[in-house]
């Protein structure tokens, strides 16, 4: 009985021990499993951190996606078993395919991987991707025809940057069912993190580019900026205009080389500027009929680790067409002035030579005639020089008027009387008109106003044919009324001068106008009349009355110095009205 109880107790103890041992065994096993899992997780996490750090260290999360893919593909063997790790990268005009062979596979294996990757790209992009566009690079172990193992395991990871497919990473193996979801997920995580970092960087770059584009947008100068590979990164509307680019979006570098063909070798200039590390200027480049000064400059990083490195180039097109035109006008004006001065000077010289002759000196009548001619020629020269001096005073802002109370009626009557002889000689009827309420005296610089009236009358007589009429009219203008209507109401010989209907805004003033029945002035030439450098040549009587054209420039300056306005109205083949106002 006792032994039976003992046996029972022993069995019970052994059973309890067994249970304890079993529990302990399973607990230890579970612990081991947990530990192993934790170890694997830690290893994966370590790998993940290590590879992300490596990407950061080696690429600085630059925009070079290929570099990032190289880092990922190059470190995979620490983490995964594979036969081939490769990537495809979508470029502007090609697809880069790079495969790293961890162990030898057949060329057919590579061909299969390449084909599968292309199919994947096609499925995502929804377009056909021709195999001919693929540029292949194989690294690592050698390819062997004798290795007949096909692709049995593989997976792709799409690489997306800023919402667009940038490429594909692929892992392939000859063994079947090799890859676990956990490992694939980690790789996905790494690629996605790298993609996000590049996308963020691209966003920053895009924001900066848009800022640059916005700054360039309003610039008059055409500006093109390129990267080191001559890809256009910015081109403002003026630059597009230079090459005649009318499409939406950014022109390519090819558009620039084509647009500037035979006129400016933009690539060579950029290469030269980069090589010499200095700004190159090209003067007077004619592109599509316009003149440009072109500056080509290397663009360097001025901050960060890349400080001093060439980032690309910038080309600035400065339109100098107007400067060239102005230069031509100045040259033409100088030539004309020289010519105008040369003519009376030549006369003076010839007369001087003649007056040396004893025969002429003794002939009082002939010598008086030559002295008269001498006086005429020197007067012409003096007038010309005076005009030039007046213009230069006007331009320098040093033109002063000495205003006095003067009878405007007397001034006009006197001038009409003065020109009457030449008008009669030209068989032109010269008359004057004074409206009601014209004041007896006005505050003017009589000498200068005489100069203006002389100029207007002289021009009118010179450009009016025989039998024509010239009238000097003087009438009052009232604010709120139109000068043309005021003239018509008084039945004055008149060509409308207020095309823009703005004269009603002019305060009460005196209007002095000279109207002729001459050949009139073409509308497009009216603006040239008061410009120092521009003279037009439409007059059939140009040869007879060629001048410097400075008279009207001076007249404008005189009237404006009085606070008045000067202008004209004309009808081709009928005549012109030149008018000026005198403030009261």
């Amino acid at each position: 009985m006792l032994s039976g109880e003992i046996i029972f107790i022993i069995v019970l103890i052994l059973s309890l021990y067994g249970v304890v041992v079993a529990i302990s065994f399973f607990a230890v096993r579970r612990m081991k499993q947990n530990l192993k899992k934790k170890e694997i997780d830690a290893r994966h996490r370590m790998y993940e951190l290590a590879i992300l750090k490596e990407i950061s260290d080696r690429t600085g999360y630059s925009l070079n996606i290929q570099k990032i893919l190289d880092v990922i593909a190059g470190s995979l063997n620490q983490f995964l078993e594979y036969s081939v790790a490769g990537y495809m990268l979508i470029g502007a005009d090609k697809i880069i395919f790079k495969a790293d062979l961890e162990r030898s596979v057949s060329p057919q294996f590579i061909k299969d991987v390449r084909m599968r990757m292309l199919k994947s790209l096609e499925a995502i992009l929804g377009v056909s991707v021709p195999d001919a566009q693929v540029e292949e690079t194989i690294t690592g172990a050698v390819m062997l025809e004798t290795v007949l193992e096909p692709v049995r395991s593989y997976f792709n990871i799409p690489l997306v940057v800023s919402g667009k497919l940038a490429g594909l990473l692929t892992i392939a193996h000859t063994k079947e069912g090799l890859y676990k979801e956990e490992e694939i997920a980690i790789l996905y995580k790494i690629v996605n993190q790298a993609s996000r970092a590049v996308s963020k960087l691209e966003d920053v770059v895009r924001t900066e580019q848009s800022k640059v584009a916005a700054m360039l947008e309003g610039m008059v100068e055409g500006v093109v900026m390129t990267d080191r590979d001559y890809r256009v990164v910015a081109a403002n509307p003026s630059a597009k205009e230079v090459i005649g680019y009318t499409q939406e979006g950014m022109p390519t570098f090819f558009d620039f080389t084509t647009g500037l063909k035979d006129t400016f070798d933009i690539k060579t200039k950029l290469e030269e500027a980069t090589k010499l590390d200095k700004v190159l200027a090209s003067d007077d480049i004619v592109i599509k009929g316009k003149h440009y000064e072109v500056l080509v400059s290397p663009v360097k990083a001025n901050t960060g680790p890349a400080k001093g490195q060439i980032l690309g180039g910038a080309v600035v097109f400065h339109d100098i067409t107007h400067e060239k035109e102005a230069e031509k006008m100045r040259n033409d004006f100088t030539s004309m002035m020289v010519h105008e001065l040369r003519s009376p000077l030549g006369n003076i010289k010839k007369i001087g030579e003649m007056l040396k002759s004893k025969e002429i000196v003794e002939n009082k009548e002939l010598s008086a005639e030559y002295v008269g001619m001498l006086y005429e020629s020197s007067s012409t020269m003096l007038d010309l020089v005076n005009d030039l001096l007046d213009v230069s005073k006007l331009e320098a802002g040093k033109f002063d008027v000495d205003k006095q109370q003067v009878s405007i009626k007397e001034l006009i009557v006197d001038r009409v009387k003065f020109f009457d002889t030449s008008a009669q000689g030209a068989k032109i009827e010269l008359s004057s008109y004074f409206g009601e309420r014209v004041p007896e005296r006005v505050l003017i610089d009589a000498k200068r106003i005489v100069q203006v009236v002389n100029n207007l009358l002289s021009n009118a007589i010179n450009f009016t044919p025989q039998g024509g009429k010239v009238m000097v009219a003087c009438f009052m203008h009232k604010k709120g009324f139109n000068i043309d209507e005021e003239a018509h109401q008084q039945n004055i010989q008149w060509f409308d001068v207020d095309e823009r209907k703005i004269s009603s805004a002019i305060s009460d003033c005196l209007v002095v106008a000279v109207t002729d029945s001459g050949e009139g002035i073409e509308h497009e030439n009216i603006g040239k009349l008061f410009n120092k450098f521009t003279q037009f040549s439409s007059s059939i009587r140009e040869r007879e009355h060629k001048g410097t054209g400075l008279g009207l420039v001076v007249a404008k300056g005189i009237i404006e110095a009085h606070g008045g306005t000067i202008g004209l109205g004309s009808k081709e083949g009928a005549g012109s009205t030149f008018y000026f106002t005198i403030n009261l």
């Binding site: 995502i124 929804g126 799409p158 997306v160 497919l165 996905y188």
Partner: protein, 89 residues
């Protein structure tokens, strides 16, 4: 073809497309994460439990979760073949 068969076909085609894009192993592994779907060995959907619309969205979401919206680019052509099935926005 009844509607549930249409859903099975759509889902099978989606998995088929993802097999091309991502590779067979991962595409099928992800599809198996949707418990309402029963798959054959070759990745065809043989049974769908519950609301097929919800299951379809869950299937798409599992791929989006892995590699982002880009993988859904290819799904447009599949849905045009099944006008009665609308893809959730």
């Amino acid at each position: 073809m009844n509607q549930i068969d249409e859903y099975k076909s759509v889902m099978s085609e989606i998995i088929g497309k993802q097999i091309v894009i991502l590779g067979p192993e991962i595409a099928v592994l992800r599809a198996r994460k949707v418990p309402e779907i029963s798959l054959s060995e070759d990745g065809k959907v043989v049974d769908v439990k519950g609301d097929p619309d919800e299951v379809l969205n869950r299937l798409i979401d599992t791929y989006v979760e892995l590699s982002g919206e880009i993988v859904t680019n290819a799904l447009g052509t599949i849905f045009t073949k099944y006008p009665s099935i609308k893809r959730a926005a």
